[in-house]
Symmetry: C2
């Protein structure tokens, strides 16, 4: 509760700053009504938007008025007063009862024995899962309210689905500093920032034994909805609003058709070394992959995949292959039950099952590992039925930025005794065909990922990182503390509070001057490590976007979530029993071992 | 309750029909397990999908199985049993307590004195409005489940927003008859159908004193979301999911930009005879209007409007002009309050206010008149907050078909003593500029619309009507009775029950053979007139789509519906006090009289 008090004080300082200016200006204005000559003329009012100081607390909406004045719309916040700073009685009680998110996080990531008990009491476990779904879902505005071109609500935020959504509107234009009123008048130099805060000095291993299979899952999974339209700008996307399995099947109808075999519902494959693989790019008309034009890549290591970006790395190719095999396996299962179904129905229904498997595995394997929660996370969409949960999602620009997890990537990968540097693997599937897919998968399982923290970006990723930071500036993201407040966390009070590391804190303080001026992405990574794979702010802002994106999927809605949607009980059960281990083990030829997101016990 | 009984019996007949066939087949199959030679060989099973008979009651989902078998998925229906025919105890009670929709409709459209009292008791009125919103909204699947290319759920129904949604999937392919198993093996001849059932013999006046201003409101309002992509097929749309005011501002960003003046937020206008009108088409780059290429239309009667179709008729041009003036008026109001706002913010905020006005007027003036409810309908989006209402909508193919209300159109219009036949007004704004906009508006107010019933289509609209019917067949709509069941109404038992008119009943019976085989659109119009402007089935199927479309608008959602979204309390109040009368009276130059959707008292 102390934290809340601290937050209030912090906000109070900003608020009183603005209020003070306004009050002073009003007094001067009143005096200027006196007979002429009796007082000096009023000094000019500041010429920037008073909303630059973000005076409205608790998600109140600031609207600037003439004469450096402003008003806060506190509707629906549970607070009132000029700056939405006074809680209603019920909100006051709610705030008092609301545990600090940091405490909750500590509780939920420790006390394994307690959670071991709770996980086994269905009634209790269900209640907690419902709470997780709804409380996280509630934190995401749905329908979306903001986009990156306006710092106020527009209809386009909803109707123009090319926009990424925004949890917080951009900092208004023409503010004294890039983050509003706090900090230096300019952003720190991006190259200096990268060198001081981001570049890997020596490899920092991931402390929770996370392996490279996890890193590639993250990349393969998220690229179905992070599809920034870089040609048009970092505020726009070519993708849909969430888990649409477009990374497996293709984003457009044209792509999807190109990848189908039109036989028994299956996707096109070819046999290489006795195993099913995706088809060569040269054999598939209408698909384009992001192979760099200048690079000498042999035609028989270019493949046609659901996502053009998945040409980039063999880990993505491995996941793509496994999912294509899984789709075809599911088609076989469906055909066994429904021998009279045509290709179209087998294809469409298998796609519905696969989307369910993706969500199930993402929640129960991937997010479970990512969060390090001792609470057993379960995929139970019916828990949201009949509530105010909205089955529609928009990907947010901040979620996309948050998910730049390049520190996870080690400098290379050892496959069966051969060392591959990162650049050796770029646009290459050679390691897979040299050693075999199964061997490559086991190499991912057995290799440690990097820690998701500062000073752990591989040097070859410099350009990627630089673009993320520059895009964040172009999108005028509000500060890390603004996002902390938005998602119910106390703002950081100083740089040591943020980093827990005096050396890093010194560097950041020099770069930013004010804790309220720390940029969003930079702050997310600079936060001191916690019990999860990512620092806490990333868990507590990414969590809501993630839960919302997974549970708002149409298949989770009451009219979809039933056996007939998935070809009957058998198809429904494929979803309900899906796991990462089964996904791999049912689709590897030579057998599987230790499939999971952690290094097998005893790995160095 | 008798009606429910009748429905059950009807369904029972169908169900037992199928079950009988299946049972017989199974018995024969069992017998064929006997030693060879001991029994005659089993006759071949029917080669069509057993789901053609729609055996699953209460929205259970039918899936065909091998050997002419099927299964019903009753999840979430409140019923169980092989055909979802047995209610759970709570559903049994609910069904017993649920009043017949026909009774409710009679009650709500009569007893004016009772409603006069209820309308004045805020607590009670609010409760009833909440019920209206939620019960109607609940009838629409959201997210959408079906589209017109598959008779089962696919992901595309959700992700491919080019599809119109479907409340009921198409009749499966390869059924014995076009409507499944009932009726003749072919649809009736469309020309014969039109001649016998649709063409106007003599003008049937609208019995509730509806005027032509109403007819044009319907046309102007609905074309913002009915934007069938005829080039690609009647199952596809170019539009968004509801009230997006694209009929005023343009559907694409390119159109919207072309129509803006970029000064004070206003739309482009020009002064003609001292009044503001939309700009000439020749003056606006990037807009295209649906003027037929061969027709000799002078360049100074071609205008650039938000919807290409609105070139068609002067009534649409009149509404377009009034809304452009209203937008610009609102910009003026906003600028008075926020003199420091730039063009962009004034434009965007005025657009948000105008969308609110459109919804307010549509509910409180238009739907109020359309339904003839004595309950005072109110626009109170906050009543849906905190419920399971989904703030997202998809336009349904059946809603589009239902809304072909051409019988409303009289054969001509008298403006200030001059008679204009329908074809005189095609692609012409002459009546407006000859007599003045205000005079034309008063002519719409003072002219009676046609009755929305059979045998009242103007002859010149033959091709439009023919296309509707043919498209309905291409989309394989289920029968009228299937839609009656889907929306909680008892199915009609015979043709007199449907039409209330023995002569029409005879014609229809000859054409269709079976009441279960009556086509959707044909049945909607053939139903006997009731207390509303449209027959009852149209009210009770169109109502849910309409309520859902209006209330699922993003501005109705909790994060939007507050003063700051609309530029503060003043802007919010423009919405809250909007009315049809104000819309016109504030934007007509010479004054307004009797603005409303009914003829002024005493009109012939």
């Amino acid at each position: 509760m102390d934290n809340v008090g601290r937050e209030d004080k912090e906000r109070g300082r900003v608020v009183f700053g603005v209020a003070g200016v306004v009050l002073a200006a009003s007094l001067l204005f009143m005096r200027s009504q006196d007979p002429p000559g009796s007082a000096p003329p009023a000094p000019p009012l500041p010429d920037y938007d008073p909303c630059c100081a973000f005076p409205c607390a608790h998600q109140g909406v600031c609207t600037s008025l003439p004469n450096f004045n402003y008003t806060c719309d506190c509707t629906g916040t549970g607070f009132y007063g000029r700056n939405c700073e006074i809680p209603t009685w019920s909100m006051w009680l709610k705030e008092k009862l609301r545990p600090d998110p940091e405490t909750v996080h500590t509780l939920i990531t420790s006390h394994g024995w307690l959670w071991g008990v709770i996980n086994r009491i269905p009634f209790l476990h269900t209640r907690i899962m419902t709470y997780v779904y709804l409380s996280r879902g509630d934190m995401v505005d749905s329908p979306p309210t903001y986009e990156s071109d306006h710092h106020y609500i527009t209809l386009d935020a909803y109707y123009n689905e090319s926009y990424y959504g925004r949890a917080l509107p951009p900092v208004p234009l023409h503010c004294p500093t890039p983050l509003g009123v706090a900090g230096h008048p300019d952003y720190p130099d991006v190259d200096e920032l990268i060198k001081k805060v981001f570049l890997r000095r020596s490899f920092k291993p991931e402390p929770h034994d996370t392996n490279v299979l996890f890193q590639y899952y993250a990349q393969h999974f998220t690229h179905q909805f992070f599809r920034t339209d870089y040609k048009k700008g970092p505020h726009l996307t070519k993708g849909n609003g969430g888990v649409d399995v477009s990374n497996i099947y293709g984003l457009t109808e044209q792509d999807r058709r190109a990848l189908r075999s039109y036989k028994d519902g299956k996707l096109r494959t070819q046999v290489i070394n006795g195993e099913d693989f995706p088809p060569y790019l040269r054999d598939v008309e209408g698909i384009s992959m992001d192979y760099p034009p200048g690079m000498p890549i042999p035609e028989d290591s270019k493949f046609a995949l659901g996502h053009p970006f998945f040409a980039l790395l063999p880990g993505l190719f491995a996941y793509s292959t496994i999912w294509v095999r899984e789709h075809n396996r599911v088609c076989g299962e469906l055909q066994r039950i429904h021998p009279h179904w045509d290709d179209e129905r087998l294809y469409q229904t298998a796609r519905l099952i696969v989307i369910g498997e993706v969500i199930k595995i993402t929640i129960e394997d991937y997010v479970q590992h990512l969060s390090q929660y001792k609470l057993r996370l379960t995929f139970e969409p019916h828990l949201t039925h009949g509530t105010s949960f909205q089955y529609h999602n928009r990907i947010h620009a901040e979620f996309n930025h948050l998910y730049h997890w390049h520190p996870l990537i080690p400098d290379g990968l050892e496959v069966n005794g051969t060392n591959y540097a990162l650049m050796d693997m770029a646009f290459s599937t050679a390691p897979i065909f040299k050693h075999g897919l199964d061997t490559f998968i086991h190499a991912m399982v057995n290799s440690r990922a990097g820690a998701l923290t500062t000073r752990n970006h591989a040097h070859v990723l410099y350009p990627v990182l630089k673009r993320v930071i520059e895009n964040g500036r172009q999108l005028r993201f509000q500060s890390l503390n603004a996002y902390r407040r938005r998602f119910g966390m106390r703002p950081f009070t100083n740089f040591v509070d943020l980093t827990g590391d005096p050396d890093l804190a010194r560097d950041l303080e020099e770069l930013y001057g004010d804790i309220e001026a720390v940029e969003y992405y930079i702050g997310l990574l600079a936060e001191r490590p916690g019990p999860s794979i990512t620092p806490l702010t990333m868990v507590n802002t990414g969590g809501p976007w993630s839960v919302k994106g997974l549970l708002a999927n149409p298949i989770c809605s009451p009219r979809y979530w039933k056996p007939s949607t998935f070809g009957g009980e058998e198809g429904f059960n494929i979803i309900k029993t899906a796991s990462l281990e089964k996904l791999f083990c049912q689709n590897m030829r030579t057998g599987c071992k230790n499939i999971g997101f952690t290094l097998p016990p005893g790995t160095a």
